[in-house]
Symmetry: C2
Subunit: 344 residues, 2 copies
């Protein structure tokens, strides 16, 4: 293993000079810098991470806590995780991959051992048990991807799901739809008070109230059978339903398929607006009007906020990303008054 001392000797300078060439924390003459850099390259020197962390009390590691659950759509989680890792590297950080399994204990362990300089948490619940810990140890900054109920002294990034819900309703209402249904995430997601699902619903209801349209909300498990059952109940209760908002990637294709089987054409008979990953909207059997989950941007901004807090020390803030509606083939104006029962 090549050490800094060996590089220093090889270049004929002191250890601190090598260190400063590496960190750029003080000015170095061009000649010295060149010499040192050549030695580094020739010897294949890599600074020892442990030593550096010990001496500087900075590990250059950001911990990322991902949920273990798979009822929230996995590709989005992965897209965020990869965006975090990629963005972190551009700032000189590596990413430690923690699963939610350990719960709050992981926060204690990682901050306590100075393993990571900061944390990014995904899948935050409204009353998350990890939050008190994060609020305290202010020295180790944290950024949440998601929005808890109380954001006091917390930094958060998320899609503005409230605005997203409202936007979907506005779009459908503008096409003339007066009876809407929200096909939601699996019941478990609501039961554990996941912020994004509830906030979307709030936005939907608020705007629906303003515009005088009716809304029915139904959580939905993955799969075709579950979807068929859900749709039956919806049309039983509200036969006039003509607009769907679906926030559940696993439910998108089942929804389209079951509607087709029932002889309801999209968008002639019913319109569908999805809140989902862009790829899902594009590859569905009907190209979907949708609000995309900006996973990459969320990951990238989380890193930027973390790095900012590590560098300066700005006030906590909540960064909400405005939703963008992409209008495509699954939504259109109300065309027919009645649904042709049993039509092919």
């Amino acid at each position: 293993m090549v050490t800094l001392a060996e590089v220093a000797q090889h270049a004929g300078v002191s250890a601190s000079t090598v260190s400063y060439v590496l960190s750029g924390k003080r000015s170095i003459s061009a000649a010295t810098r060149t010499r040192v850099e050549r030695s580094i390259r020739q010897l294949g020197y890599h600074p020892n991470a442990g030593a550096r962390a010990l001496a500087s009390s900075r590990s250059n590691i950001i911990a990322l806590m991902v949920p273990l659950r798979t009822d929230i759509y996995v590709p989005v989680m992965m897209e965020i995780a990869i965006a975090v890792a990629t963005a972190a590297r551009t700032h000189g950080y590596d990413v430690l991959f923690l699963t939610g399994e350990e719960g709050p204990e992981a926060v204690r362990r990682v901050t306590g051992s100075a393993l990571a300089d900061a944390m990014i948490l995904m899948d935050v619940e409204l009353q998350d048990e990890r939050l008190p810990l994060l609020r305290d140890c202010g020295s180790r900054p944290a950024v949440l991807i998601g929005l808890p109920a109380d954001t006091d002294r917390l930094t958060c990034v998320d899609l503005d799901f409230h605005a997203t819900g409202a936007l979907c309703v506005t779009h459908l209402a503008s096409l003339g739809h007066r009876e809407l249904a929200v096909i939601g995430e699996a019941p478990a997601v609501y039961e554990r008070h996941t912020g994004f699902a509830l906030r979307t619903l709030d936005g939907v209801r608020e705007r629906a109230g303003e515009l005088g349209v009716r809304v029915l909300h139904r959580p939905c498990e993955a799969g075709y059978a579950a979807m068929a059952a859900t749709l039956s109940r919806i049309f039983d209760e509200r036969p006039g339903t003509s607009g769907f908002i679906v926030q559940n990637e696993y439910a998108v294709e089942p929804l389209l398929t079951v509607l087709r089987q029932q002889g309801r054409a999209v968008p002639e008979d019913v319109s569908v607006v999805a809140v989902c990953q862009e790829q899902v909207a594009a590859q569905a059997s009907v190209r979907l009007t949708s609000v995309a989950i900006p996973a990459q941007e969320m990951g990238r901004r989380a890193v930027e906020l973390v790095v900012a807090k590590l560098t300066d020390d700005p006030a906590p803030e909540v960064a909400l990303i405005p939703p963008q509606l992409t209008i495509s083939a699954s939504s259109g104006p109300v065309l027919r008054g009645t649904h042709r029962e049993g039509a092919p």
Copy 2:
């Protein structure tokens, strides 16, 4: 920050005693151990990771390199990653999350800086450019999830895809199918010589040769349009095709849908066997006869192998997991000689 020295003082023992209580590397009297443990708890002590890494030259971190690509099914990647992280924790390791983006340079960086004690690589290609580096620095063990062309001095874990391909053919042939088609991964996956896709194909062809059945292989992009085109070509070329092997999670549902649209009933007219994640097989619109990708087991075994190499120093080995065929509703005996063109 509480240090080991403070714990020692609080417990009235020397620093080394505290260290040995923690590591268990020498015997400690029950009384001393109790006293030290109490102090640790009272003071909320967590060993400093950097200091520990520096002194012991072990970081207790395993680096996991995940692919950036999303043409291989993301939920499987995530399942493996989570299994790795979970298994690693049970052995006292944390996981560093590296994306393939940096390529071989990441290997150099992580091993050079002693950031990680070992590496696990996913999405290995037949001729992977990271392999030479791994073979060299023998001190830092590596385990591949996947199988490159040359496994000399390398440790690998993977599903036995060759046997998987053979197993699928055997099953379909035993049901009387004589003309098979393989719906494969996206062309890009084959073009970059990804081992698992090619090995499956080898297994399919070998067994098909032995059993005298014909096989057509078609890579397939995600989406319904691509699938419709692919199926047309297959049935044009081999109208008698009655058995499908699909190895592409993104293609599963499109395949079933397009077959249905063409009036080909599953399994009455054609049988389908999938090589895919268990969840996909279970939630498809027809419950699929399939060989599951044992993602969790792969992740877990990769960690076990890494830990073993870190502990003892066993010879490199290749661990292939035998495939398990689950017979379900999508495969059955050949029933009809001819396909009813245009039937509903």
